[in-house]
Symmetry: C2
Subunit: 268 residues, 2 copies
Amino acid sequence: MADGRKKKFIKELQEKSRVRKESGLFTVDGPKMCREVPVELVREVYVTESFLKSSHAEICSDLLKYKGFETVTDSDMKQISDTVTPQGILVVAEQIKTKGIRDIVSFNGTDAPLLLILETLQDPGNLGTIIRAAEAAGVTGIIMNDTTADVYSPKVVRSTMGSLFRVPFIYVTDVIKACDLLKRGEFTEGNKVDILAADLNGNTDYTLYDYRKPCAFMIGNESKGLSEEAKSCASKRIRIPMEGKVESLNAAMAATVIGFEAARQRRL
Amino acid sequence: MADGRKKKFIKELQEKSRVRKESGLFTVDGPKMCREVPVELVREVYVTESFLKSSHAEICSDLLKYKGFETVTDSDMKQISDTVTPQGILVVAEQIKTKGIRDIVSFNGTDAPLLLILETLQDPGNLGTIIRAAEAAGVTGIIMNDTTADVYSPKVVRSTMGSLFRVPFIYVTDVIKACDLLKRGEFTEGNKVDILAADLNGNTDYTLYDYRKPCAFMIGNESKGLSEEAKSCASKRIRIPMEGKVESLNAAMAATVIGFEAARQRRL
């Protein structure tokens, strides 16, 4: 990998959200995550000699077979990987294309979407954990405003453990407008989507809402919670009752607790 | 703060679990956490001049009034604090004394304890988050084996957001023996405590168990889960059903999901 410019570009893809946005690309690191990348999104594959000889190569055999790869030295891999101990494989991939909110809402033909709306969630680790928990809870789609962290940053990609490629998501500029359209049933043939705001001062115990209906729950920023506009556009403000003297749950915990209550009810 | 040995000792308290164990001390950093330390545990208080002039001093006024403090330079604080941007106050505190499992189990006179048992949980951030979520869910006590991370490490202390001082906990050498005693009702006047093991291959949906009974749920190591012995000693193996292709939830998520289901049922 003699090309210094290429190395620099890969580093920038990891470090700069702007470079990811402009190029429409991102990086994926390590065998477990690389094998999750849908083949049609794979642009370039870099591996080390020792990786090819290791048992991990097996996990990624389809990727190596169908997409071709470039062998790089351990030292090159160390330079292009964003992890402290690189695992010998790195993929440059195209970002997932989403047509619009309608696709997110009706994903897999559901007529009772369970949506998660994130407003200005800023910690990459939180965002990754939330996407993973959301998939596990059966969330059908995620809508984020554009001041939410970039899902394509290496830390988010890693902490989703592959859920990134399986839960449909979209960034919108105006999340309030999106909520208004959802409420009117704009994307669901008139079938109205209930908007719920997770709010420490909410008046509805989150377990007393019926999540079997088409609905979307909104989680706000880690320290400030949801904006007043977001709370105002919700049809219900739900609260997670807390024992002891805990002031709040972190955003990932709150999203998980609500998501799994919805999952429980949807299994009934 | 001319005394170099003192500085060194405080750094060691932060960095070395062994030093914390031998001295029975630990450090707490920042105004929000420092004001949570029960006054009887406070041994030393260090503050900077700028802290005393700031609005944060107000939060800690009781601490400063009743316990006395030593003023240190910003540079000293930087050296003794384990955070990148120290907030100007650091407390050296005594570790919480626990008499034994009986005290944990019957904390606040409950006759229906909801216990959390942690086996070899190793990530400090996870442990802190779990303790915080446990308090919020109404967990009455936490039992950990001694290969679980040290709750007094700065990262755990910080991420509990004060729950460390409010949820009773104990470390035990033999967690299986503790479970056996709980099962026989040894600490509960014959009132048997059900032991539940969180297990990806469990046969009971976690929402179908009645948590209003005296019970304890066990969460295992981040990558390996619970040991076979731990699973064998449980009366039920509970599983969190997951949608999509998620292989597992992280330990903190699993503990939170189970804890809040127990809380929901206990409110019914």
